[in-house]
Amino acid sequence: MASVSLKNIHKSFGKIEVIKDVSLEIESGEFVVFVGPSGCGKSTLLRLICGLEEITSGVLEIGNENVTSLSPRQRGIAMVFQSYALYPHMTVYKNMAFGLKTAGEDKSKIDQKIRDAAKVLQLDQLLNRRPAELSGGQRQRVAIGRAIVREPRVFLFDEPLSNLDASLRIQMRIEISRLHESLDCTTIYVTHDQVEAMTLADKIVVLSEGKVEQVGTPMSLYNEPANLFVAKFIGAPAMNLIQAHTKAPLEDNEPRYINAEISGKSVRLPCLSYNYKDNQNLTVGIRPEHINILGEDQKTQILEEDLQLPVVIDLVERLGDVSYLYIHMEDGTPVVVTVSGQSKLNIDKKINLHIPATKIHLFNESGERIM
């Protein structure tokens, strides 16, 4: 167990800068998830922490010790690879023993550690098998076992579940979560799947193009995305984003609102602090699950500042527990609304959307959150 601290880390491959000035504090025992779209540099960042790639500039500390130029072994970390990277010619037992043998530990100790880990991971019966004779989930567990026996200070996972099918993925997700509870070891976990990130993380780090977009707990990212990128990335279906622009008169006397125009209609948008000028572009964000449909939901309380928009349903996707309504606004902006699975709403029906002002996210021209 150790804290990890990244200070102004840069990484370039040749001329291409892949990691751009990443600074991050990870506390001891924390489960941190790096999430971001494919190619944004998650793996690279993880491999930098691991010691598989050389840090171009910056300082990496593990347990308050500068490890920037140490080998993975000296850093005291273990990594679970996306492809598992099990040694195909070794049995499960030997796979787990390899690192320990390399470190020169004695046989009985190695044996004990392997048996303990095997019990935790339900690998007892499989110790003499080769990787080719294991199912995907079992291989995954061996890969984790191989990391556990090393008793690392930090666990690194690179998209460990991406090769599993959907149901196994959920099961392994729970297992990893449980494992983290019991081992209480600092863990850094990379995924491009925001559901994995939300469910596993103590703290999520959203990356985009080699930069940190936001760091925070899953709920803080959901509730208060710092910018458009995070807003789009966290939550499924993704947050609806609607273009708007400010419009005179700007009610200076009542600074809680600004006048704006959405799709040709004048609306008042709630706004706390905004240096507003006339005719500035804004993006209004609203999550599909926060949009109500007037007349559908009895409990809806409509406040004066809430938005109301008449629209027509394009398409209904019924998932059982919920249904998604696909709608477009007059200017063509697509909007998705989540409604109860029992809803009888159907295609072509005219409805009135109700968007509660309290649930609105507002982003300025450069995509930063202003409310």
Partner: protein, 283 residues
């Protein structure tokens, strides 16, 4: 790959050692050829007085080349080799692809025997059948012809070609041919217009594996076509040098004439050749 391998000062020393070794071996691989080429352009005196020196204005001479040109029909040999190699290669590729396709696509009576039958040719060197091959060639009245060599080289190259191409064809998506069959395209059209163009990547591999042994072969030219008419470069050089052993200028010049085309072609095509040899593992 872990770049830290070459990070620390200790490993930097290690890597310097690796470069030293590889450099030394590269030198060993190329120097003999280099030595032959530079000395081919020297006078006899220059060759013996300072073999390691580049030709200077005092030692420069092309006498060797002039003699080779005068005393042997080098270009004739060269064109023979070219015709034989390319002729054989064409049929190896075409006929090999046809067999490979038949074996990888259709299940028929005796198909597994046929596969085994072709595989024998990969393992057993064709040379061992020389006694009988010569008798066949004699009875077909093909001794001292390029045709004889082309036929034998086709037989030599086919098994490997079939092996490589059928492995490759097995990976062509089924949907491609099935779509064609749904449109009632004939099996011949499927082969020539869909499959053959798709095997292009494997053809580099087959070509490399076929061309080198054919171009360089001494055995069959020696046995089947020793006469002047169909003489290949390899045999021509061998016989020329045998005749002029003591004439160093001529020997060096003829070796250079044999090496330089290969060297130039390799400089141009080395990427393709290596890619072919490693079956695409090298991008």
């Amino acid at each position: 790959m872990f770049s830290s391998l070459f990070n620390s000062s200790k490993n930097r020393g290690n890597s310097a050692f690796i470069h030293l070794f590889l450099l030394a071996y590269t030198l060993l691989a190329l120097f003999p050829v280099f030595l032959i080429i530079i000395n081919a352009f020297k006078t006899r005196k220059g060759i013996f007085n300072d073999p390691l020196a580049l030709p200077t204005s005092a030692t420069f001479s092309t006498k060797g080349f002039e003699k080779v040109m005068a005393n042997s029909d080098f270009f004739h040999y060269f064109s023979n080799s070219l015709i034989i190699t390319l002729g054989a290669l064409f049929f190896i590729l075409l006929l090999g692809a046809m067999i490979a396709w038949a074996l990888s696509e259709y299940k028929f009576f005796g198909s597994s025997f046929m596969r085994f039958f072709m595989a024998i040719g990969i393992i057993v060197p064709i040379r061992l059948g020389s006694v009988s091959i010569l008798e066949t060639i004699v009875s077909l009245d093909l001794v001292n012809t390029k045709t004889a060599l082309i036929l034998v080289y086709i037989a030599q190259g086919l098994p490997m070609a079939v092996f490589i191409l059928s492995e490759f064809m097995a990976q062509i998506p089924k949907e491609l041919k099935e779509a064609a069959r749904c449109d009632d395209v004939s099996e011949y059209k499927i082969f020539f217009q869909i499959i053959l163009p798709l095997t292009r990547p494997a053809i580099a591999t087959v070509a490399v594996f076929s061309i080198i042994p054919i171009w360089n072969d001494l055995w069959f030219p020696l046995i089947l076509a020793p006469g002047e008419e169909a003489r290949t470069v390899t045999l021509g050089v061998q016989q020329f040098i045998g005749q002029y052993v003591t004439d160093w200028n001529s020997v060096l010049a003829s070796l250079t004439l044999a090496v330089v085309p290969v060297l130039i072609l390799y400089m141009i095509f080395s990427k393709h050749i290596i890619r072919g040899l490693t079956a695409g593992a090298v991008k």
